[in-house]
């Protein structure tokens, strides 16, 4: 148990929670923005126009190929170098996460719609449903059911990716942990174990309910 007392020294517990809030805040805002923009990207990808299709493909592939850290540096430092616009670390982080998240959501939306067999459209229309009725009652519910588990999965990945933002001076929960370990590294060399255990628990408490929800929704789908 040596080193566990570090968690309760000074403001450490409060600082970890504060860091967790930074992590949560960044990821929740980014996830919400990604959903809104991603649905739009996905809709664009379903457009028949080949130019629009290629542009969306290029966007998604570029975002996938480049590591998120590179994006973060381009947005935080690159933009300032080129345009003199000085974004705050948190804004840069949200932009990076949203660019990435929106591309992933877009691709998920596209595949969810494309996976709906064409006879669903045809049967709907032959039943005399109008276009809006067809989409609202037949297509959307089916597409969403396939989409939700994937989106939740993406959300947990986005939450974990926020750990990168300490490189641009934003102190999220993992960075607070490293600071605590380092501040006590001479007196409590074993504190690292406990601090990481606590951070693991915090990530778990956030991500596990999401995983559960995803599992539940996936199960429903198989009924």
């Amino acid at each position: 148990m040596q080193g566990i007392e570090v968690l309760f020294m000074g403001n450490n517990m409060l600082r970890l929670l504060d860091g967790l809030w930074v992590t949560l805040r960044l990821s929740l805002i980014s996830i919400a923005l990604s959903l809104v923009i991603g649905v739009f990207v996905g809709a664009l990808m379903l457009v028949k126009n080949p130019v629009v299709k290629v542009m969306c493909r290029v966007y998604i592939e570029i975002v996938r190929i480049m590591p998120q850290l590179v994006w973060l540096f381009i947005i935080f430092f690159g933009i300032t170098k080129m345009t003199k616009i000085n974004l705050s670390g948190e804004t840069a982080a949200v932009i990076m996460l949203t660019i990435w998240g929106a591309s992933e959501v877009g691709d998920l939306v596209r595949s969810a719609f494309q996976s709906i067999p064409s006879h669903q459209f045809e049967s709907g229309l032959s039943l005399g449903l109008s276009r809006p009725q067809l989409y609202f009652y037949v297509i959307f519910p089916q597409a969403l059911r396939g989409l939700v588990p994937d989106i939740i999965n993406l959300s947990t990945r986005m939450i974990k990716t926020t750990a990168l933002v300490s490189l641009i001076g934003v102190t999220e929960v993992l960075k607070v942990g490293k600071q605590i370990i380092d501040a006590n590294r001479f007196e409590f060399p074993n504190a690292a174990l406990w601090v990481y255990a606590e951070i693991f628990l915090m990530y778990f408490i956030i991500c596990f309910p999401l995983s559960l929800l995803s599992r539940k929704l996936t199960k429903k789908r198989g009924e």
């Binding site: 504060d18 919400a32 948190e90 641009i168 102190t171 960075k175 600071q179 605590i180």
Partner: protein
Amino acid sequence: MNTFKKIASVFAAAAMALSLAACSSSNGSSAASDSTDDSSAASGSYRTVDQIKESGEITIGVFSDKNPFGYVDNDGTFQGYDVYFADRIAKDLGVELKLVPVEAASRVEFLETAKVDIILANFTVTDERKEKVDFALPYMKVALGVVSPDSAIITDAEQLNGKTLIVVKGTTAESYFTENYPDVKLQKYDEYNEAYSALQDGRGDAFSTDNTEVLAWAMNNPGFTVGVESLGSTDAIAPAVTKGNETLLNWINDEITALADEQFFHADYDATLASVYGDNVDKDSLVVEGGVM
């Protein structure tokens, strides 16, 4: 329809969480976690001393997890050798101090984009970095140190000939001994903790790496002493400013020269490093006064 309702409620919950986040993100959080907002008016180009004084605040980039140079203590306050100097700079400029936590990998970029006025983050002067930032006079130096067991203490590098020296791969120590002491048998490890275990187990006669590192370790491991405190080429550690920011560079240089009269960096050592390195260390193997190495 049941599923559809559920999904709708998930989205509603997400929307609520978002509005909650939006509300509270506006009122900011503690100093350590919310340090890169752009209130200090840095806008891509550096600020002169007059501009800094006018704004009433100086932004200095420090490490937040490099005890004892720059770290955050259990109360959430920045501490360390670099921070002690940063406090003094702000005081002598007559402005508020705003510390920004930086990482080793992004120190140069923070200066290039003028997101901080000064970097005081254990920044070693190298030719490559000099092309990108301007270094002021050094306020600290680092060289190699050799730690060995008290029972067979090594006090001179010559004593290592024919013996086994533990080093960590890729460090200055490895290249220095390979070049200058070919008769020393090197035992190489990937990580520091492996190297320290090897030394404790007696797999080698001594261990060498940066003196700042071995001094701190020896202090916390009775039975081991740093017999050689300063070896090889000495690297300077200096404050850095954005390339071309001459007024600030000159101001820092004058400041460092002036502080020599009161032996400021010796006091800094006593306040921040002494407890880590102990009393037996020769302060002058680490501290630089007046920029004179």
